[in-house]
Symmetry: C2
């Protein structure tokens, strides 16, 4: 079988190795990888234009010097903290839309052709009962914004946009059916929307139930729409984003087989791991390096 | 002994009960509290002026209708994700400074007199060796910005600014000595800078060592500078921000005695707990309510 494309999301660099002169040599020399996914936790698209221009220039130049390619840029923890395109105030949704348009322009200027992430969350109710899905009004507003954003992506010069499904009833899509419907509803946009399922999202048992929490189902049923995949170690009890030095329920060789069996073995797989801010740098690097070695054993 | 002031940071509301018409009734009716600390995870000070004006108006009006007072506003997860005032690029430091100035104006307009949080983090090194402290140049730049920010706070109409020490060598202050030096170096600003120690920061054993990780030392040695305290349940192995339904090492009655013994029993104590985004609303509310009941038993 042919080698699969393995890369790493720069989530492990957040507030640590924040500039390409810091992370590119680590990716090449410590991890032995040549493919990364940039994180908007390293650059906030709302920073002033002049700053963004210079940082985009660095991203266009420096990683290549280390033989590292940036495949895509994804929303990180900071922006995911907000309700984004589904905030109760439509003006805050507008701001989230303009945030994404700026993110697209920054990515394009940095030579990154794909941008993605989760889309947003509706607010919770006082009675703490979570509806099964968005209202039709909220869903239609979201799809309208996605179609408009594809126009912004075309203007910026991007080639693909990505939705990352998340395991929350207040976000969208959280089910396979919702993801399929959304892909149909945004079909034909000038820049295509595709899906990035995450191993720790699809397997979250408290939401889906033990027998329905299955990454295999997502991969198989949505395969034509899947452009890339996030992998992490997790116990299926939370969206852990552990690395593979932790004891969890994800077996890298079984994951590889599932990707091939679903016919998406040619799509890149990105390790996405988060660490407590207070964990020391050396132990983070050691753990990421050990995880990449484990994953290479399965995917390499 | 007199009752101590117990409040709650709105961290448990992030991306859930994001507007005061949602969280104020929960704070009064489910938690039985009348004191909160607002979180900038609920409102980003970079949102457009018109939006901020309306949201500030709601904050000035709605919580009071429920008998809930907003004591202060603190930086949350989203802004803490970035290097803030210590980013390697001085222009990003400038942006973080303007972010804070906008946060001050928003808080003042919302009728909130105190703003605080962690200050920033220097980047990590490629060799992953962490220096014991900031360079003198970085430290002096930070103090210059803090003094300038106190002028912004005066213009906005605030009455106190807060530094929250964090348990990272790349942030400042992380030791009692650094915190004391910083308080001396910003003494006399038009709006005073004070400290908000956190129970899970001072007790982080992997950084301080088992026998030096002590909240009692922070409280006793820095008591004149301490204006409020963050409490959480934690195991001293990470900065957990668990609630008090979790098994941890913090005993609420011992915490109360430590505060009184250090002479800071008259300062308000805020529970600050974070939950995985994917945890369901009902279990979050139940756990927060149970924690508040436990803390009231000690502090009430």
């Amino acid at each position: 079988m042919s080698k699969m494309a393995l890369g790493i999301n720069l989530s492990f660099c957040v507030k640590r190795w924040v500039t390409p002169d810091l992370w590119a040599p680590l990716v090449r020399d410590r991890l032995g990888l040549d493919l990364v996914q940039f994180s908007f936790d390293l650059v906030d698209p709302m920073w002033p234009d002049g700053v963004l221009q210079d940082l985009a220039g660095e991203l266009r130049a420096v990683p290549g010097e280390y033989g590292v390619e940036i495949h895509s840029a994804f929303i990180g923890l900071a922006h995911y903290t907000f309700n984004q395109l589904l905030h109760p105030d439509p003006r805050v949704r507008d701001y989230a839309e303009s945030w994404l348009a700026r993110a697209y322009r920054f990515a394009a200027e940095a030579g990154i052709g794909r941008v993605g992430g989760p889309l947003g969350a509706i607010a919770s109710r006082i009675d703490s009962r979570e509806p099964e899905s968005l209202s039709e009004a909220d869903y239609n507003d979201l799809v309208t914004r996605m179609r408009r954003l594809a126009g912004e992506a075309l203007k910026a010069g991007l080639r693909e946009l990505y939705v990352e499904p998340t395991p929350l009833r207040r976000e969208c899509p959280w089910t396979i059916a919702q993801a399929g419907r959304m892909m149909a509803d945004v079909a034909g946009t000038p820049v295509p929307w595709r899906l990035c399922p995450d191993w720790g999202h699809a397997t979250f048992e408290p939401l889906y139930g033990r027998y329905r929490a299955s990454m295999e189902d997502w991969l198989t049923e949505l395969s034509p729409h899947i452009g890339m995949v996030h992998i992490q170690q997790t116990d299926f009890q939370y969206d852990r984003h552990w690395d593979f030095t932790e004891a969890g329920a994800v077996d890298p060789e079984a994951a590889r087989d599932a990707l091939r069996h679903a016919g998406v073995g040619d799509r890149p797989v990105f390790l996405e791991v988060f660490y407590p801010f207070e964990r020391d740098d050396r132990s983070v690097l050691d753990a990421v390096a050990a995880s990449v070695t484990i994953l290479k054993g399965a995917f390499g």
